[in-house]
Structure formats: C-alpha cells, structure tokens
C-alpha cells in the first residue's frame, strides 16, 4: 500500500494561531492512501476531520510534517501551484453541493476545465466533456437547467460530474449524502462505489455509520490524531463499530 501511496501524510500537524500557544487541531498524523483506495474518514466534531480534508484538498497547508500527493511534496508549494494542483489532481464533492446558482448545470461542470493551465481545451471541447460527464451521472437531459431547478440528489450528481472533469487522482467527498434523503444518498453512494470500482481514489468524510461500515477502509480521528485505521469490521469485529466510530 505504502509503496504506491497517492496520499502520504507524515507527521502532519496543524496549529491555528501562534504555533507555540495556538489551537492544535492535528497532531502528528501519519496516513498513507494507496491509488484506488476508498477511505472513510470518521470522527466526532472537532476531531480534525475537516482540517485533514482541507489539507488533503490543498486548501490549507500543514504547520508541521509533510504531505505528498502523487509523490509531490505539496507542503511548501506556493498558492498558485496549490491552485494548479487542486485543479488537475483533486475533485471535490461537498455536502452542500457548492454549485454556482447563476450558472447552468453544464457550466458548473465546465468550471474546473476552464482553469486548466497550458493545455486548456477549447470551449467546444469543454462543453462536450461536461455533457459526457453529466450523461455518465444520468443528467444528460438537465444540461441547461440551473441548480435551483434540480433536486438535492441531482445537484450532488452534478457536483460529482464536476469533480471528475479533469480526471483527478484523488476525489475528496465531504459528507456527500449529508443533505440527501435515503434514496438520493444511496444513488450518490452507488456512483461513488462505481468510481471506486473503476479505480478512482476516494476519501470520504461521513457521519453515517451504515455508510462507514460499507467502506473498505476507515480512518477514525479523535482529538487531532488518527485513533484507528483499517477495515471497519476488522477494527472491532462488528459492523456496529463503524457506527460507533462514525458518531
């Protein structure tokens, strides 16, 4: 696993404010995620999940330690290079979808394609790519709609299509089913399982124990540390543990 790690956090710590007296959110976190893994990130509120996701998503930098994404140490990259990395290597799926309401579904999916450096596709190609992705999540008929005209489940599918726009090495999903009903949540999970089956690397924050229990690997956070790391069943020999961790 560690030999083909797409994500490698080594002794990552995060302190907000003064490093000596500030608020410590992450403490010497060591996590390695191999290419193609589907990892659940669980833990109580304030355990450091969100900060870890921010660091994994190159939205934030660790105070100490190193973070290597696809072999590249991103801890010291400047803001522009972090932006480029987010654009080409990371796909975000947020709990609240984070679609731009003024743009159509297709324009939302095109968004990451417009920020590609160097080999930026033409508008026609970007449109075609967006249409292809939206078709793959079953929204080929909704291209010209605005997010307000879509259901929550559809919005999240748009967000997944957008996350896949640049064929990212890592997909970060922050409670993607948190705002959805059971049926829509299950649809979204099926899409994510499908992506995993297709070889995508996914890290997903979830508070849902049932979902956590279905994941091949769960990293449980507590007080800024990794408290457990492994398959949910193996961790405690019961599916219920997944629920315990997730809570």
């Amino acid at each position: 696993m560690s030999g083909d790690a797409i994500v490698r956090l080594s002794g990552v710590g995060k302190v907000y404010g003064d490093p000596a007296h500030g608020l410590v959110v992450l403490r010497a976190v060591d996590v390695a995620i191999a290419r193609g893994e589907f990892v659940g990130l669980v833990g109580a509120s304030g355990s450091g999940k969100t900060t870890m996701m921010n660091i994994l998503g190159c939205l934030d930098r660790p105070t100490t330690g190193t973070y290597a994404l696809a072999g590249e140490d991103v801890s010291k990259l400047d803001d522009d290079r972090l932006s480029d990395l987010r654009n080409r290597a990371i796909g975000f799926v947020f709990q609240s979808f984070q679609l731009i309401p003024e743009l159509t579904v297709r324009e939302n999916v095109e968004l990451p394609l417009g920020y590609v450096r160097g080999a930026r596709a033409t508008r026609a190609k970007r449109r075609a790519r967006a249409e292809e992705l939206l078709a793959s999540v079953g929204l080929a008929q909704r291209l010209g709609h605005k997010p307000a005209q879509l259901s929550g489940g559809e919005c999240q599918r748009v967000a997944i299509a957008r996350a896949l726009a640049n064929e990212p090495a890592l997909i970060l999903a922050d409670e993607p089913t948190g705002n959805l009903d059971t049926k829509s949540g299950e649809d979204v999970m099926q899409i994510l399982f499908g992506l995993h089956a297709a070889g995508r690397t996914i890290v997903m924050v979830t508070h849902n124990p049932e979902i956590a229990a279905r994941l091949p690997r769960v990293v449980a956070m507590g007080d800024g540390r990794v408290v457990r790391d492994g398959p949910p069943r193996k961790l405690a020999g019961s599916a219920a543990i997944g629920a315990e961790e997730a809570s």
């Binding site: 921010n54 998503g57 939205l59 934030d60 803001d79 522009d80 932006s83 480029d84 987010r86 654009n87 080409r88 975000f92 947020f94 984070q98 679609l99 731009i100 003024e102 968004l111 990451p112 417009g114 920020y115 590609v116 930026r120 033409t122 508008r123 957008r162 640049n166």
Partner: protein
C-alpha cells in the same frame, strides 16, 4: 492568457451585467453622466475651436484692421472754407501713405469709406451701413454674389453708382420685382443694385472687428464712387442741430506679407499712428490676437468642463467600487468554489476586473449616447457649434473602462485575497 480565456472572461462579465439589469444600470449611471460630459466637452470644445478658426479665416490671418474711432474728448475744428464747426478725427490719407512707404512688411493697404447715409426706395427708408470698398476687399472677406454680380475694377475706375446688398435689405425695402437692376437711393444719390450677397449676414464678431455698427444691413459700393459722391464729410441732422464730422479713412485693412509678420507689423502701425495721432482716435484689431484670446477663454472653459467630467467619473467610479464590494460579499461562496476548482488568485482578480471593465465600457457606450443627445440639445438651444470626432468616442470609452478598472481594483483584490476555506463556509 489566450483569446479563448479572454472571451470567456468577457462573456462572464456580460452575463453578470445582464443578470442584475437594474443594479447594473444604476451602477453605470455615474459613468453615463461622466462619459456624456467628456463627449460633450470634447465636442463643444472642438466646435468652439472650429468657430474660432472660421473667425480668423473670415477676418484674414494676415490682416490687421485699423478703425477710426471717435475720441472720447472731442475737439472741434473750424474749417476755413465753411466757417463751421466740424469734428475731425480718425485715420488720414497721410497715414495710409506713410504706412505703405515705411513698413516693408505690409503687402497692401485697403481703404474703407463709411457713408453715413440712409438707404431709400421710394418712401421706404432703411438705416444701413454703406461701405465704399475696393473690389479686392470683396474677395478678401468672401463677399460673393448669390445673385447678379459683384462690382469690378471697371466699375471702380468709372466710378459707377452700383451697389451690392444683402437679401435682408431687399426684403426691408420691399422690392417686389427682381432686385438686380433695381435702383435705390443712398442719401440723395441713386445706385443700381448689381448683386445680392450670398450670405445672410456677417457673424457678430466679424461685424465688431470690421467696425460695422449696430445696423442690420450692409451695402457695398465702389470706394472710388463713394469718395467722389459722398467725400469724407458727413452731415447728420439730429433734433434741430446738425452733426458734422470729417473722417478721411474710416477703416484700413492692412495686409501683412505673411502670418509671421502680423504682430511686428501691428507694432509698427501702432508706433506710426501714435506719433501722428495724439488723441486716441483709432483702434487696431489683430485677428490673430483675437484668436489667441479666444483660445485662452476656451482653455478655461475646457478646464472647467474637464473638472466637472472628472468629478462625474469619480462619483461613477466610487459607485462601481461600492457595488462591486457588495457583489463580492454576495458572491463569496462562488469565489470559494472557483478557488477550490483551481482558480488562481489572479483568475479571480481578472474575473472581477473584467466585470467592472464591462460595466465601465457599457456605461461608456450609454454615456456616448447621452453625450450625443446632450450635444444636440446644447446646439439646439444655444446655437453653439459642436464637432463630434470618432476618436472622442474611443477616448471616452477608454476613460470609462480605465476608471471602472481602477474602481474595481480594490474589490477585485479583496476577492482574490479571500481564503478559499473561509469563502466556502460563508453563509
């Protein structure tokens, strides 16, 4: 940045503009007034410059006009021949000869004789200004016949009693038949109308410079005829008394050899006349100096207009900055999403700058329309001239775009500096 990316930015700018039409329009208002003022200022300024140029053309760039004027403190002179009191003042034939002889920069001197006699047609009387001028005077001041002909050298040599009139005089005298060939009286002398001038009238400034009195009509007769027929003395009866004046030369049009020599020649004329005229009974009008004086006045006017336009643009810019700050707060989450999707700070900066520039340029376009309408109104109600050049529109659009970009710089920088995590969480 590629053309494709630039096009995307512009498209985004226009889409955002159209998304909130009323707000966009209100944001643009300051820019509309500012650009309108700039366009109006440039056009009215150019119109004024054109008018000034026309003035100098109408008066002649190489001309110096010397007028006889009645001095404030009159001195009465008794002529031996008539034993009567007579006012004698103004330019003399000697002055003309002296200037011609002593000043090498003078090309020629054209005399003008003003005949202070009313024009009659039957019982109809019109108080017109009757000028005795040389035929070349007519060409110099663009006095062309619209109908008939102007008088020529032959008429002058033969001292023919012919005259040129304006259409206004024809109307006032109520000449029902063809005026060409009709006869009118100047004082008691009969003159044949040989031509009607093409233009309606001189402009007021030309009238003033040429010392044309307040009378509305002008009549031109050959100089030689006027001298032989009317001479240099004028008798005007007023309320029981008779006013007698003697002016040898009412006016001299001194033509310098070149425009560069106008000022030195004017100085020489002033020096020469100062010696022979102890009383200030003449005035020297230099069209070139009139032009420069007008230009100075115009420069002050332009500066005032420029300040007004600048204030309007400043207010417009502040309005744009204000609205953009509100827009950026409103669109904080969008900024966060774009940053998460890979937008660099520079992309966000450019996006918002393009939006403000779009507001500026579109506002500028509306401002141009407003300016054109304002110019039309100004021309209509004041009679001023205005000249609209295509580059005024380009200048106005560039200024509006520039002001908008400056106004949008701070809000755009603020947007670009946003922390993506905070922006994504913004409620």
């Amino acid at each position: 940045m590629g053309l494709d990316a630039l096009f995307d930015l512009l498209r985004l700018g226009f889409e955002n503009l159209l998304r909130n039409k009323l707000r966009s329009f209100l944001t643009m208002l300051g820019m509309i007034f500012g650009v309108g003022s700039v366009i109006a200022m440039l056009s009215v300024g150019a119109g004024a410059r054109k008018e000034i140029l026309e003035r100098i053309q109408s008066l002649g760039i190489t001309n110096i006009i010397v007028n006889s004027v009645k001095p404030p403190a009159e001195t009465k002179t008794e002529t031996q021949a008539e034993q009567r009191w007579m006012d004698k003042y103004g330019l003399t034939f000697d002055d003309r000869e002296l200037l011609d002889a002593t000043c090498p920069s003078i090309d020629r001197v054209l005399p003008v004789n003003l005949v202070k006699q009313p024009v009659w047609r039957g019982s109809r009387r019109v108080d017109a200004s009757v000028f005795g001028v040389l035929p070349e005077h007519l060409a110099m001041f663009h006095l062309e016949a619209g109908r008939g002909r102007v008088f020529n050298e032959l008429d002058a040599v033969e001292c023919k009693q012919v005259c040129l009139v304006r259409q206004g005089l024809v109307d006032e005298l109520q000449l029902l038949e063809d005026p060409i060939g009709a006869r009118v009286n100047v004082g008691r002398e009969s003159f044949e109308i040989v031509g009607v001038l093409a233009d309606q009238a001189f402009r007021s400034h030309t009238q003033k410079a040429l010392a044309i009195d307040g009378r509305t009509q002008e009549v031109y007769v050959p100089y030689t005829t006027s001298m032989r027929t009317f001479g240099t003395m004028t008798f005007v009866q007023k309320a029981g008394s008779e006013e007698r004046t003697m002016v040898e030369l009412d006016q001299m049009i001194v033509v310098a050899k070149s425009a560069d020599l106008v000022r030195p020649t004017a100085r020489i004329i002033a020096n020469v006349l100062e010696r022979s005229h102890k009383r200030k009974d003449y005035e020297i009008v230099v069209p070139l100096e009139l032009l420069q004086q007008s230009e100075r006045t115009q420069a002050v006017f332009n500066a005032v207009m420029l300040v007004i336009a600048a204030i309007s643009l400043l207010v417009g810019g502040i309005g744009i900055a204000n609205i953009m700050l509100a827009t950026i707060t409103e669109r904080t989450r969008e900024i966060g999403v774009r940053r998460a999707m890979g937008a660099r700070r520079r992309d966000i900066l450019l996006q918002f700058l393009t939006e403000t520039a779009t507001i500026g340029v579109v506002g500028g376009l509306f401002g141009c329309l407003f300016g054109l309408a304002a110019i039309r109104a100004v021309v209509l109600y004041t009679g001023w001239q205005a000249v609209i050049e295509p580059h005024f529109v380009i200048v106005a659009l560039a200024i509006s775009g520039g002001v908008a970009i400056l106004a949008g710089l701070y809000p755009a920088r603020r947007a670009a500096a946003m922390d993506p995590i905070g922006a994504l969480r913004y409620q």
